[in-house]
């Protein structure tokens, strides 16, 4: 069998290096075409994962296993299950979106821009498919470097602050995780993540490990109160950076919960589930209200992301099949919707060079096609049925009502608040009379932008109307995960 996962990792990285080697600032078109070819190739090599995936089993599939650092029993150990496979696909798809969306928008150091995204894409695929603790850590940390450069080099006026904050926040968490990984190695004698699922640990140790892992992944998700880097990073990052941050990078945090925290420290997870649920609810409700008062569109979507990711963590810590699957569906849906929202803001920003809601008004008069697309994505962001945003949130709310009515009721307020901030922003930006001469001079979507948004719109509808294929893929793996969570390791 072909090593599809290795290809998913190394094809984009090789393409990125090729872009760096060949691309010159004078001749940016070459860099663009190589990058596009690399992104397409990167997506094509991940398609077999979807085609050949066996849905009836929770076993790791497409496994690759070879020695890497025998001194510490570290292996080049890759594999995906129903939980991680979808994210590899999502990431490869988003890389293509990002490369395409940057086509004529990025004008300086095009080759480095494209290369940073391609290399990052490979590293992210690595993080989603690594089954060795150190291999995971390697990808997890290394992906900070391209994003740091993306925000810092192509970002907005306050980019340095945002880039450094992004890097240090994430590093803080992951360094503690490194200590936790080493501790687990010391206890178990292996870095294999799946072996760690079977290592008995006392509750005290589990709680410490939980804290170390939790800090690392909670920063990445991000959960309240360690979320403050995200609005800064989103606002300053170029459109592509925001798309990848929202659609993929945040998901790695949530993925860490299901790959590491829940199965490795199940007793601590159950013991501290109330704490995590409380934080999730704060994120859902409080951050929802914070989003309501934002004057900057990107910031608004950033806060909306935090709020939506609260659903994911909430769903995970309900420990039910429905909640867990709801969280995962929400992750994928949010990947589409938030990416689309940032692309929409990017479309406007490219024309007006402003992200302030107050600078807009009546955009529908000059950009009708764009207004229609943004309407769809705004609806999806508020969780309208028949869009992908509805499915995950509904499943999580259903699961929480089963646990406790008030829990579900509190979480459900997001439906109202989410609709309020998204649609209110939409109203102020799109509707009304033409606000100023600049808006009057706007041109509607060009062909590239139309197809780009159109492709994402299809995915949003597909997942909203027919989510079965996604849920089928994750079903067995989630059941297996819940079995691990239910089993005490004391």
């Amino acid at each position: 069998m072909m090593p599809y996962l290795s290809l998913a990792i190394w094809v984009p990285i090789a393409a990125g290096l090729a872009v760096l080697a060949v691309g010159r600032d004078r001749d940016a078109a070459v860099a663009r075409w190589i990058a596009l070819a690399g992104a397409v190739a990167g997506l094509v090599v991940t398609l077999p994962l979807w085609i050949h995936f066996q849905t009836g089993t929770s076993e790791m599939q497409f496994v690759e296993y070879s020695d890497w650092i025998p001194r510490f029993d570290i292996h080049y150990f890759l594999g995906v299950d129903g939980i991680s496979m979808l994210f590899v696909l999502l990431n490869s798809l988003m890389t293509l979106v990002v490369v395409w969306s940057a086509w004529e928008v990025i004008k300086v150091r095009v080759a480095q821009y494209m290369a940073a995204f391609l290399i990052q894409s490979g590293l992210i695929n690595g993080a989603f498919s690594a089954l060795d603790g150190i291999l995971f850590y390697m990808f997890f940390e290394a992906m900070l470097i391209p994003m740091y450069l993306i925000i810092g080099v192509w970002g907005g006026p306050n980019r340095v602050y945002a880039a450094v904050k992004f890097f240090l926040y994430t590093l803080l968490g992951s360094l503690l995780m490194l200590v936790a990984l080493i501790y687990l190695y010391d206890v178990s004698g292996t870095f294999s993540i799946q072996e760690w699922y079977r290592v008995p640990l006392s509750l005290k140790v589990q709680v410490f490990l939980f804290i170390a892992f939790f800090l690392s992944f909670a920063v990445k998700v991000p959960m309240w109160p360690v979320h403050t880097w995200l609005p800064d990073a989103h606002v300053e990052a170029p459109t592509g950076g925001s798309v990848i941050l929202a659609a993929i990078t945040l998901k790695i945090g949530a993925y860490g919960f299901v790959r590491f925290i829940l199965p490795i420290v199940p007793d601590a997870s159950r013991y501290l589930s109330g704490f995590v649920i409380a934080l999730s609810l704060i994120a859902i409700v409080y951050i929802g209200f914070v989003a309501l008062v934002q004057a900057d569109m990107k910031k608004l979507i950033a806060y909306s992301s935090i709020s939506h990711m609260g659903f994911v963590t909430l769903g995970f810590f309900l420990f039910s099949q429905l909640g867990m699957e709801g969280g995962l569906v929400q992750m994928i849906s949010h990947g589409f919707v938030s990416a689309a929202m940032f692309l929409c803001v990017g479309v406007m920003y490219d024309r007006m060079h402003s992200r302030q809601i107050a600078d807009y008004g009546g955009v529908v008069n000059t950009m009708p096609k764009f207004a229609a697309f943004m309407m769809l994505f705004a609806m999806a962001n508020s969780g309208l049925p028949a869009t992908s945003g509805f499915v995950g949130e509904f499943m999580v709310i259903l699961a929480s009502v089963k646990v406790n009515f008030w829990l579900g009721a509190t979480a459900a307020t997001i439906m109202i608040v989410g609709a309020a901030y998204t649609l209110w922003m939409y109203k102020r930006v799109i509707y009304g009379a033409v606000a100023n001469a600049e808006v009057a001079a706007l041109t509607d979507l060009n062909r590239r932008e139309f197809w780009l948004l159109g492709a994402v719109a299809v995915l949003v509808f597909w997942m909203g109307v027919w989510p079965r294929p996604f849920i089928d893929v994750m079903h067995s793996s989630v059941a297996d995960l819940l079995a691990h969570v239910a089993k005490s390791k004391l």
Binding site: I69, R71, Q112, V164, F167, L168, L176, I182
Partner: protein, 482 residues
């Protein structure tokens, strides 16, 4: 004990000494314009020495000259690495020294003698040899710092280095004399045996130990014996800073291993506590104070203090896996440090020192390749994968956790978070800011190639660290010391 005169055991040293004398004499007959002949002669000597160090690697550890000298895998490995480091330093410093009137025979000869000192330290089997090697190294370095006579701060740095260094040597010697008094021997193996059998007055031994640890800490530049490091790093011409900051760290590692790990191995519980204090203080002070620096060389000096703290953390685990972790850390640090100072010299030119952080502004616009090399260096120092620096941090943290010091590991990662800030700042300057200095970067082809290989090695060893890790483990396992 047999009085075996085994010249094979010290073949690299003999070759080096002969080579140094040849360079010293040969250089006298060369005009200034033909100084590159001495340069290539020196490189040839280094190549021969490096080869002989590998070729004479014994399967079994051997003693020679009544136990004054030890020849084992560890010694030959470290000798080889030191030789390579000195050779790279000469490549990087070639254009730089020529611009500052330092491209002279003395530079080559003193570098070779410094290397000889390191080798003697590495191969020492007795306190006397250890001390001899250390002094030969130190005196060569003092002279090299002072050689840049036209610079006032270099002269000041030389003075500081000499006075404090002499004091530290005195302290070290005093400590050795106490150990001698308590154990009745200067031979490392004999001292180890005597102490292991429980003989020796404990109070005197502990006093001696305190002095020894202080002396070692001074030579490493660990807090609170770090005062000289920033001034000397900053004041010395960069080519000499490069020499001070790299290969001797390996020699001091060997020194520490023979002295603390072997001779005083049975007192491990006592020196472990002392090293712990040094480790924690070095990591915290080095990383925190480095933030406030505007000079690249001073920043790297504080970074070196912090890094030595990390190395000590591996060492204080006091078991073979800890020692090999510390050795790996030292090698990784030396490789990274070589490239960092190499970059400063690459950007420097006649009448201009690129030793300020601001001199790295907009390097990505001037040369994406060198910016990338410096990026690798900075992330390696910060310990971010996939660079070599990550595995260096990983192995020492693993050693600490393994020895039960989880709190120490947590302190270490927290301080390295602080450290990441100032390394990131350099990346920020190179990539996010616009260039103020637009002079073209030109260097000799040999310099460019060696520096590029050095930089890429940080990445390649970061992705495939197993061989380097293996070497460290094998070197310690076959040294017969432990």
């Amino acid at each position: 004990m047999t009085t075996n005169i085994d010249f094979a055991a010290i073949l690299p040293e003999i070759l080096l000494l002969c080579g140094a004398c040849a360079v010293l004499l040969g250089d006298l007959f060369l005009a200034d314009a033909r100084r590159h002949v001495s340069f290539w002669l020196t490189q040839a000597v280094l190549a021969v020495v490096a080869y002989s160090a590998l070729a004479t690697m014994p399967l079994q550890p051997a003693e020679a000259f009544s136990g004054m000298v030890v020849d084992d895998v560890l010694a030959d490995t470290l000798k080889f690495m030191c030789t390579v480091a000195v050779s790279m330093m000469l490549f990087y410093g070639r254009g730089y020294s020529a611009d500052r009137g330092l491209f002279r025979g003395e530079t080559f000869v003193l570098s070779l003698f410094a290397l000889l000192g390191m080798m003697v330290m590495i191969a020492a089997g007795s306190f006397v040899t250890l001390y001899l090697g250390l002094e030969l190294l130190s005196l060569s370095l003092y002279a090299m710092v002072a050689m840049y006579r036209t610079s006032n701060i270099a002269t000041e740095a030389a003075m500081k280095y000499f006075v404090l260094g002499a004091l530290a040597s005195g302290i070290l010697l005093y400590g050795m004399s106490m150990i001698y008094g308590a154990s009745g021997s200067l031979d490392i193996a004999t001292v180890a045996r005597t102490l292991a059998s429980g003989q020796g007055e404990r109070t005197i031994l502990l006093f001696g130990l305190v002095f020894l640890v202080s002396g070692v800490a001074f030579k490493l530049g660990a807090v609170p014996y770090h005062m000289w490091v920033p001034d000397v790093y900053d004041g010395a011409p960069t080519v000499v800073t490069l020499l001070i900051g790299t290969a001797p760290k390996l020699a001091v590692y060997a020194f520490m291993l023979r002295l603390l790990g072997v001779a005083l191995g049975s007192l491990w519980f006592d020196w472990q506590g002392m090293l712990m204090v040094l480790t924690v203080l070095s990591m915290i002070l080095g990383n925190v104070v480095a933030i406030a620096q505007t000079s690249m060389k001073r920043m790297l000096a504080y970074s070196s203090i912090a890094n030595m703290g990390f190395m000590l953390m591996g060492f204080l685990a006091a078991n073979p896996s800890g020692y090999s972790a510390a050795m790996f850390y030292a090698i990784a640090y030396v490789l990274t440090s070589l490239a960092s100072f190499g970059m400063i010299m690459l950007l420097s030119r006649e009448g201009f020192e690129a030793d300020q952080l601001a001199d790295f502004k907009g390097l990505n616009q001037r040369s994406p390749w060198w910016a990338f090399m410096m990026l690798l260096v900075m992330f390696s120092l910060a310990g971010v994968p996939p660079t070599l620096g990550f595995y260096a941090k990983f192995v020492v943290i693993q050693a600490a956790v393994d020895a039960g010091f989880i709190w120490l590991a947590v302190v270490a990662v927290m301080t390295s978070l602080v450290g990441a800030f100032y390394y990131l700042r350099v990346v920020k300057l190179m990539y996010f800011d616009d260039a103020t200095d637009t002079a073209p970067i030109d260097a000799r082809a040999d310099n460019r190639w060696v520096l590029s290989v050095n930089g890429l090695a940080l990445l390649v060893f970061g992705i495939f660290p197993q061989h380097l890790l293996g070497i460290c483990v094998v070197a310690l396992a076959n040294s017969g010391l432990l």
